[in-house]
């Protein structure tokens, strides 16, 4: 299993699929389908992940120790026991923050060049 990199910057840039999965988990632990729906909703349907892409990404994130499997259930009565929940690790959180910061810097740069406007 790959060890987590100590410097989050060294994991950047992330692929869109990885970034969106980490962003979805930044809102709390989720199971696979919830991650997929969150990505779909947050990108207005522009990124639609299939089961293969999602679990391929999950596998690589688990190997990189950016996420981990959670044994806790938000509400065991309402949920299916077979579902697997995932959450961000400390390193994962640092990486997603660093990537978000990187995007923010890019947006700032684009604004400086008047390519995009500030939101009203």
């Amino acid at each position: 299993m790959a060890k987590p990199k100590t410097d989050p910057e060294s994991s950047l840039p992330l692929t869109p699929a990885v970034f969106h999965v980490l962003l979805a988990l930044a809102g709390g632990e989720r199971h696979g389908y919830a991650i997929m729906r969150e990505v779909d909703a947050s990108t207005d349907g522009r990124i639609k992940m299939g089961p293969g892409t999602l679990y391929g990404t999950v596998k690589r994130l688990l190997e990189a120790q950016l996420i981990e499997e959670s044994d806790e259930r938000p509400d065991p009565h309402l949920d299916d026991d077979r579902r697997r929940y995932y959450r961000l690790t400390g390193v994962g959180e640092q990486v997603v923050r660093a990537e978000a910061q990187r995007y923010a810097e890019i947006v700032e740069l684009a604004r400086g060049k008047k390519l995009i406007r500030k939101p009203a």
Binding site: G32, Y33, M36, G50, P51, G52, Y55, R82, R83
Partner: protein, 382 residues
């Protein structure tokens, strides 16, 4: 029936997906296979809830390319983990073997998807009612056909079809879990199921309606024909009333004019003491009298003609022109579904499968050759 179809569609989809998971390497399948199958089940259930068979078909169109791409990536990743990689890769990356394997997998996947989608897609029946439509205008109207098509798909015709067949409630129950639909939504759905076609060199028009229920298709096609017929009768009756009012107004004016001219002729005749026969050499006053009398005769003739027209107009109002639209062939329920065309779909699936599988095979050969080069290079340098 809906639940039965629901279960069948979802069960078949899940079984096919479970089987397709074999494309992934065993380790990946053992670890994530059940979770992927669970995710697909959830997605499938929601897709069915959103758009029934079409939703599931669209899901398959998204899931299949994902499955092909990611299974290939996972296979390559699994190969990288093996210790005797060089030997195995060299054996595996034989261009011919790679091409045949990838061709077979892609072709089978596409064929399976085509077959699955063809059998998942809801069956649709078509029913056609044929009408003969004549123009109100006796002269040749070049836009008559286009106008007729637009009217037949307008609210004026279709809303009464929706009301008559209670489509807001019926389709609400069938497609939206019992919720009564807004007429605008039902109208849009209805329009998407209608196809209108003229029959060349005739005044006949085919009204074809598609539905998964053969009886409903026939009922709707007949209701559209009847509604259009009623619309034309209503319009013709309204036009007849307008025309009659105009004629009556003309008749009244003509009558007034006759009274006036008759009084003038009578007073002038008495003053000039003119008999019933015109003299050989009439004076200018006498000539004016005779001209006026002739004008009066003309007015009386017009009066007679207007009277006759009035009577015809009254008849047009009392007996509407039902012959403007006649239903020559009412729609009957179809015997067999017209959509999906299973044979055509499968033939297209085979052709498309061969095409895509050849491309995928070609790309795999290029990748394999690249890998072999890299392996050969590392074997020399290590």
């Amino acid at each position: 029936m809906s639940n039965h179809f629901n279960n069948r569609t979802l069960t078949v989809s899940q079984k096919v997906y479970d089987w397709l998971l074999r494309a992934y390497p065993p380790t990946h399948r053992e670890e994530y296979g059940p979770a992927m199958a669970q995710l697909f089940r959830d997605h499938c259930r929601d897709a069915w809830g959103e758009a029934r068979g079409w939703g599931v078909a669209k899901l398959w169109l998204r899931v299949l390319p994902d499955l092909v791409k990611t299974s290939f990536i996972e296979r390559l990743a699994a190969l990288n983990e093996r210790k005797s990689m060089t030997d195995k890769m060299t054996a595996l990356m034989q261009p011919r073997t790679v091409f045949l394997k990838v061709f077979a997998v892609v072709f089978l996947l596409i064929l399976c998807a085509t077959v699955a989608i063809t059998f998942i897609m809801p069956e649709s029946y078509a029913s056609t009612a044929r009408i003969k439509a004549d123009s109100d205008n006796p002269s040749n109207d070049p836009y008559f056909l286009q106008t007729t098509f637009e009217i037949m798909q307008s609210q004026a015709v279709l809303v009464s079809v929706i009301d008559k067949l209670h489509l807001n409630t019926v389709w609400g129950k069938k497609y939206y879990g019992g919720e009564t639909l807004e007429t605008t939504n039902t109208l849009a759905m209805l329009k998407s199921r209608i196809s209108l076609a003229p029959i060349r060199n005739t005044k006949l028009i085919n009204i074809t309606v598609y539905s998964e229920d053969k009886n409903e298709a026939a009922q709707i096609a007949n209701a559209i024909a009847k509604s259009y017929q009623d619309y034309r009768i209503k319009v013709a009756a309204a036009l007849a009333v307008v025309s009659l009012n105009r004629l009556q107004e003309q008749w009244r004016q003509n009558e007034k004019q006759i009274e006036q001219v008759r009084a003038e002729v009578s007073s002038s005749g008495q003053q000039l003491k003119i008999g019933s026969v015109i003299s050989d050499n009439p004076s200018p006053q006498e000539q004016a009298y005779w001209d006026k009398k002739q004008y009066l005769d003309g007015l009386l003739e017009t009066h007679k003609a207007l009277y006759a027209k009035n009577e015809v107009g009254k008849l047009d109002v009392q007996i509407p022109k039902t012959v403007l639209v006649t239903v020559t062939d009412p729609a009957v329920p179809g015997h067999s579904p017209v959509r999906p065309n299973k044979t055509l779909n499968i033939v297209l699936g085979v052709l498309f499968g061969i095409f895509l599988a050849s491309i995928a095979g070609g790309i795999s050969v290029l990748i394999a050759l690249k890998f072999r080069k890299r392996i050969d290079k590392s074997a020399i340098t290590n």
